[in-house]
């Protein structure tokens, strides 16, 4: 009896840190899971380049690539390139995502607007950014605006589609209540539409940012003279594929981190709106 009591005691005391520990453990496990594949790839890469399975110029050894990465960090090249690229994403995203949100709201709310604009929008959205490039160069030249427009387009499309979806999915019951209460348009928008759409907006932000990231590299590779994409093209031209691999790694890691953070944020927003609803 006394022993059981002691055991119960221990369990009670340990229950709070247990939760903490479990969370830490699951975090640790997922971190390990995430790292397995890159570690396997790295091992394979290392073996392939040191055993001479592939030519050292085309697939340089990992330590050379690390050295190149450190060199590029030290002389500021990579930071300058990344700064240019991220500024482009920010500008393109601000323009594209906000216009996309408004457009999505319009075709989501108004059946008329959807029947007039929806099909054209969907047809244009199906053409990848690459296809627009020659026409856009003719219209905008090769300046910064070209890149911003392509990035804005990349953000616009997913945001518009998801915002329209969200606008259509405002719970019917709540809309009816708002009708009965004769809420003012602005109150209705901020108190009903926006909270109901919040989870959709969150996934719209995530999707458009990841789209922007992919398009950015393409656009910088094709018609750029700076940024991370151009750095990779230039590395290939110089037959220094270590620079290309550094670029690929940076783009991959940043893309992953961006997606990870935004997924977390999306989850928090979904939980928050769930509690309100």
């Amino acid at each position: 009896m006394a022993t059981i009591g002691a055991e119960e005691d221990i369990r009670v005391v340990r229950s709070a840190p247990d939760l903490h520990l479990a969370r830490l453990k699951s975090f640790f496990v997922s971190a390990v899971l995430i790292c397995i594949m890159p570690a396997v790839l790295l091992a394979f890469w290392w073996a392939a380049s040191t055993k001479g399975w592939v030519s050292a110029q085309v697939l340089p050894q990992p330590d050379w690539v690390l050295q190149t990465f450190l060199d590029l960090c030290a002389n500021g090249d990579i930071l300058a390139a990344a700064a240019v690229s991220f500024r482009r994403i920010a500008e393109g995203f601000l323009i594209g995502a906000s216009l996309g949100f408004l457009f999505g709201l319009l075709i989501g709310k108004s059946k008329t607007a959807d029947s007039y604009l929806g099909p054209t929008f969907r047809a244009l959205a199906a053409v990848p950014s690459l296809g627009w490039l020659p026409i856009l160069i003719l219209l905008l030249g090769i300046e910064e605006s070209l890149k911003i427009v392509i990035l804005a387009k990349a953000c616009f499309v997913p945001m518009a589609i998801i915002a329209a979806e969200g606008a259509r999915n405002v719970p019917k019951g709540l809309t009816e209540v708002a009708d009965v209460l004769r809420l003012r348009a602005s109150t209705r928008f901020f108190k009903l539409t926006i909270p109901a759409m919040a989870p959709f907006i969150a996934s719209g932000v995530r999707l458009s940012l990841s789209q922007a990231f992919v398009s950015l590299i393409v656009v910088e590779m094709l018609a750029g003279t700076d940024g991370l994409g151009y750095m990779m093209v230039w590395g290939r031209t110089l037959f220094q594929l270590d620079i290309v691999i550094v670029g690929m790694t940076v783009v991959g890691v940043v893309g992953f981190a961006l997606d990870f953070v935004l997924k977390r944020a999306e989850l928090l927003i979904r939980r928050g709106s769930g509690a309100n609803g």
Partner: protein, 351 residues
């Protein structure tokens, strides 16, 4: 049973040995790489394309099991460097700037012939007063960087007393260059004969042609073999270079001019454009395979350019890179000394 096995083993060894000895004399196939243009099946616009189309190299291997295989890379120089590095090519012919970059990064290539010269054009917006290189001062010029065109522009600027700091260089691919000048977002472009149609369309006017500036203004490049192939098959290497020289000899005959233009037009440029691009130049002089002092001075200028532009991190030892014996043998055996007398470093004829 054991005896049977050992006999079989012996037979297999002998057969394999024989096969190996045979492979030593004649490679099963020889793979050639060249810069290519055009949609669908790209094709080349230089000496190697002639050697391919007229079967000059294949002819050298007539009656042997050796096959020749030509690949034209639309990815140009960088793609050829990668293919050489991956062991996918035995011979390649491409521009000096990328093949110097390849050599400086450790490709085991050896120069066995010159591929001659390429004409470089400058086109400017018709609404601007750009009539010569000197007028480019303060203007925005589109080129594809790290190519022989880039070298051509910088050299032309130097000859006109300018430096590249006097202009703004925009790095664009060929197709984007055309769009950029049509959209007036650049003032001038430098490139190969793909710029010529712009003049007919009224989008730009041609104000510079490298061959007008003398032979030392033209672009240049070489025909290279991998050291591995050269060591394994010295005879085959000689045959290939002889075939290559025969192509240059065919090209030097004026009655073949039209046929040559027709062959090059397979790369996508209309015949009129090619004949306009070559107007006033003798193909025999332009596509001179000789590795003489003129060639050496061109390549030295190319190496200096690559260093200056920080395109290479290490120097290239030109003397160790060039092997004149094959082309000299071919010229001697075909009795072509009179066709291509040695040129001095400046391009003047010697002896």
């Amino acid at each position: 049973m054991r005896r049977l096995l050992s006999t079989l083993l012996l037979a297999a060894t002998v057969a394999l040995g024989a096969a190996a000895a045979k492979a030593e004399d004649a490679p099963a196939n020889i793979r050639f790489g060249d810069v290519g243009f055009g949609f669908g099946t790209p094709f080349g616009v230089g000496l190697q394309a002639i050697a391919d189309a007229k079967g000059f190299i294949a002819g050298e291997f007539k009656g042997t099991p050796t096959k020749v295989e030509f690949t034209y890379f639309t990815g140009t120089g960088p793609a050829i460097n990668e293919a050489l590095s991956n062991g996918q090519l035995d011979f390649a012919s491409y521009g000096a700037v990328p093949n110097i970059i390849g050599k400086a990064n450790g490709l085991d290539t050896v120069i066995v012939a010159s591929y001659g010269g390429t004409t470089i054009f400058g086109a400017a917006r018709p609404d601007l007063e750009i009539k010569s290189i000197a007028d480019l001062k303060g203007k925005k010029v589109a080129i594809q960087k790290a190519t022989i065109i880039h070298w051509g522009l910088v050299t032309a600027l130097k000859n006109a007393g300018l430096s590249e700091k006097d202009i703004t260089i925009v790095d664009l691919k060929n197709a984007d260059q055309l769009a950029a000048i049509a959209a007036k977002s650049v003032d001038a472009v430098f490139g190969a004969d793909f710029l010529l149609p712009l003049e007919d369309k009224g989008v730009a006017k041609i104000f510079y042609k490298s061959s007008d500036a003398g032979a030392s203004g033209d672009g240049f490049g070489a025909f290279l073999v991998t050291d591995k192939f050269r060591k394994a098959y010295p005879e085959a290497t000689q045959k290939v270079v002889t075939g290559f020289v025969k192509a240059a000899q065919w090209l030097a005959d004026d009655k073949n001019r039209d046929e040559a233009f027709k062959i090059w037009s397979r790369a996508g440029s209309p015949i009129e454009v090619i004949s306009k691009s070559n107007a006033g130049s003798l193909l025999g002089q332009k596509y001179n395979p000789h590795l003489d002092d003129f060639f050496t001075s061109r390549y030295q200028s190319g190496i200096a350019f690559d260093r200056e532009q920080k395109l290479i991190r290490r120097d290239v030892d030109l003397d160790a890179w060039v092997d004149r014996s094959y082309v000299d043998n071919a010229v001697k055996s075909l009795n072509l000394q009179a066709l291509w007398p040695d040129r001095s470093a400046t391009g003047a004829l010697q002896n």
